[in-house]
């Protein structure tokens, strides 16, 4: 079926629906005319304007569909979506983090997007990065289409490396190499035990989940990939956590208790030589004039998985067929080579497509973040688990913070935390 016939078919169905429900006076656009869809997202940073640019181009490119965007801070977006999801004021399309999506999908407020992937009606979806597409799976059904994919990579400050007498073009590639560089990268001039310059900047709360990637690459994790069993109590997890807690407590590789934003600030102020973060940091660093590089994170003894922070576009369950068609049409436009080129070049995010033509992506950071070997190792964190927020914020983070603060030992904290996680997972199934 070509796009046109599909759209016409949908329009006929919509017309029939409209006749049937005309008396209800639903203003949601279920009539045979232009469709307007509201789209909530939380791209409040420098990536917001780039996204809006593509939306504007889409709206100008045709006169059947209009996308109206609303930007809200992520926290408020989730809160408002909760209260609005069941009312008519709710959005038609919502961008949400892959780790949040399952919670809403479970409650039935999102509609599946399997039709988008079913055939090539809208686009050939096989070119999309698999890690990004998988992030919106819940219970065997896909509920989203990737808006962006942010691999969390290693940033290093070349100037600080040179000052430390290290090769500024050779960041650490393994945990061992990283450990070997610690003496050189730590600066504690007054010897008070509180360094003026730290080797690494990593937050332990309100951040992209960096510590869980350490657990993965040490052979452990928080929850198994199938989302059914807790791994926090596994010996491999405890060992990996112990290794990093020791580095923090004894070698002071990073300040304790930072949020993600604090860690960014620390790296940007050149008080830390390395940090692990997504592509959104590049804009600020470049503006601040830092001499830095980005590369694949140092590998652990048991793996070199990369965290992929995915934001997916989801659609409300109350969309009718014409509206769903309109949403999918926009999704296909967003994933097009042209739009992805704009997105990648304006923000430094990688294109979600794996088949970008040579020379299209001119932003050096986007090219690094979007390198095929990076996109291949990208792994999502706690996606497909409805209680992911509870598991991460209420159990994992406090246990980690207690260990980092020295109020408890990893071996005492993680196994009971693991039991709590297991109880939540069992409860849900």
């Amino acid at each position: 079926m070509s796009r046109t016939t599909r759209a016409t078919g949908a329009a006929v169905v919509a017309l029939a629906l409209a006749v049937g429900t005309a008396a209800c006076g639903d203003g949601g656009g279920s009539t045979d005319g232009p469709v307007t869809l509201t789209f909530w997202h939380g791209l409040t940073g420098p990536d917001g304007p780039a996204f809006q640019q593509v939306v504007d181009e889409f709206n100008d490119s045709q006169d059947e569909i209009t996308i109206e965007t609303e930007v809200l801070p992520w926290d408020s977006l989730y809160q408002q979506f909760l209260t609005a999801a069941t009312s008519d004021d709710g959005p038609d399309i919502v961008a949400m983090s892959g780790s949040r999506l399952a919670q809403y999908a479970e409650q039935g407020v999102l509609a599946p997007t399997d039709d988008f992937y079913a055939d090539t009606t809208y686009m050939d979806t096989s070119v999309l990065a698999d890690g990004a597409v998988q992030a919106s799976m819940y219970d065997g059904v896909n509920y989203g289409v990737p808006l962006n994919l942010g691999p969390v990579l290693l940033y290093w400050n070349k100037a600080l490396f040179a000052e430390a007498g290290l090769d500024p073009e050779a960041p650490p590639t393994t945990w061992e190499e990283f450990e070997g560089m610690l003496p050189a990268l730590t600066v504690d001039e007054n010897g008070d035990g509180s360094p003026e310059q730290y080797p690494l900047a990593v937050g332990d709360h309100s951040t992209v989940p960096v510590f869980p990637t350490f657990l993965w690459n040490g052979g452990g994790g928080v929850v198994s990939d199938d989302g059914t069993s807790s791994m926090l109590g596994d010996p491999a997890t405890v060992d990996a956590a112990q290794y990093w807690v020791d580095l923090v407590r004894e070698d002071r590789i990073t300040p304790v208790g930072m949020s993600g934003a604090d860690a960014d600030q620390l790296f940007q102020s050149q008080l830390a030589a390395l940090t692990l973060n997504g592509p959104w940091l590049t804009t600020g660093l470049t503006e601040a004039g830092l001499d830095y590089g980005v590369t694949r994170p140092f590998a652990g003894p048991d793996g070199d998985d990369i965290l992929g922070d995915v934001v997916s576009m989801t659609i409300s369950q109350r969309l009718d067929e014409a509206e769903t068609d309109a949403a999918f049409t926009f999704f296909a436009y967003w994933e097009s080579v042209e739009s992805q080129t704009t997105w990648a070049n304006e923000t430094g995010f990688p294109a979600v497509r794996t088949d970008m033509p040579d020379g299209a992506v001119t932003n050096e950071w986007a090219a690094i973040f979007g390198a095929p070997e990076i996109l291949d190792s990208v792994r999502p964190y706690l996606t497909g688990v409805p209680s992911s927020g509870e598991i991460n914020d209420d159990i994992f983070t406090p246990a980690l913070q207690s260990a980092l603060n020295g109020t408890g030992e990893v071996a005492d904290l993680f196994p009971p935390a693991g039991e709590q996680v297991q109880a939540i997972l069992d409860d849900a199934s």
Binding site: T86, D192, H205, S206, G257, S259, G389, T407
Partner: protein
């Protein structure tokens, strides 16, 4: 005057009173009392905001009594209230006494002490977090310049994190209570002090014999307001620590927000809210009775 016309005056008065009272009371009933009743109802249900509530009776209450997170939040709230309430009241009274004296720049200082009350707590909490940052915070920088370098960030350690959010709580409200005490001080007749002074009493004696008893009404009101505010603390904790590190600053309202919005356990969160409200009511009543006994009648 006949009994009949007295009746009608009473009747007319009552009708007029209700006319004056009705709009405000009606609005409060609809927009405050009704949502409260609804919260009480939801506390007896399992409700995730997305699907209709399911009646579970007292299950939520049973669960929360055995929930270590609720007990932790209750302990933190109590600790916060027990420290912040008296410190704020004490400082407010001290500032009011000082600012009731005449001295150079008094008006400016009064304004300076009051101004925190009108700034947005959410925004200023970001400023506080920044100032206290161990690595690029100005306050930390100055402290280490005089050799008081903190080992770790104030917000990274459980005890100092609690101290920091307490500090912001005191800072924000002390000016408002100071003004209340100041107003009280200004309504104490001068002659009382002059009489006491002639008796050869010391400053401290005059404070205890004249000022304190005559301020007891303000003290009661300020105590109730300050304790209520302490039990409801939310903004600066949400911004500065989000309840961390390791839940060491999570208070009851922060917990209500977390379990309701993040975990979609809104029924459970409502039960915690109801418990919190009952606590505040009992505490306020206790304060009213305590001060009521020693109150100077007016």
């Amino acid at each position: 005057m006949s009994a009949r016309s007295t009746m009608s005056i009473h009747h007319r008065q009552a009708r007029a009173a209700w006319m004056f009272l009705a709009p405000g009371l009606l609005l409060l009933t609809i927009f405050t009392a009704w949502p409260l009743l609804r919260t009480v109802y939801l506390s007896l249900t399992d409700y995730n905001l997305l699907t209709p509530p399911e009646w579970v009776g007292l299950d939520n209450y049973r669960e929360l009594l055995a929930d270590p997170q609720v007990m932790n939040a209750f302990g933190n709230t109590l600790l916060y209230a027990v420290v912040v309430t008296p410190v704020t009241i004490g400082l407010a009274m001290l500032f009011a006494l000082a600012l009731n004296e005449r001295f150079f720049a008094r008006t400016l200082v009064r304004t300076a002490v009051f101004v925190p009350f009108v700034v947005s707590l959410a925004v200023i909490s970001i400023a506080f977090r920044f100032l206290l940052d161990p690595n690029y915070g100005l306050v930390t920088h100055w402290l280490s310049a005089i050799g008081l370098a903190p080992q770790q960030g104030a917000l990274a350690q459980p005890h100092t994190a609690m101290a920091a959010v307490m500090l912001v709580g005191v800072w924000k409200n002390v000016g408002f209570y100071m003004v209340m005490f100041l107003a009280g001080l200004q309504s104490i007749p001068r002659e009382l002090y002059e009489a006491a002074q002639l008796d050869g009493t010391s400053r401290l004696q005059r404070f205890r014999a004249v000022t304190l008893p005559l301020l007891s009404n303000q003290t009661m009101l300020v105590s109730i307001l300050a304790a209520t505010a302490s039990f409801q603390v939310f903004d600066q904790i949400k911004v500065m620590t989000n309840g961390g590190p390791a839940m060491s600053t999570e208070t009851l309202v922060v917990l209500v927000n977390r379990v309701g919005i993040n975990n979609l356990e809104f029924g459970y969160g409502s039960a915690v809210s109801v418990i919190l409200l009952v606590l505040i009511l009992i505490l306020s009543l206790a304060q009213y009775l305590y001060f009521g006994r020693r109150q100077v009648r007016y």
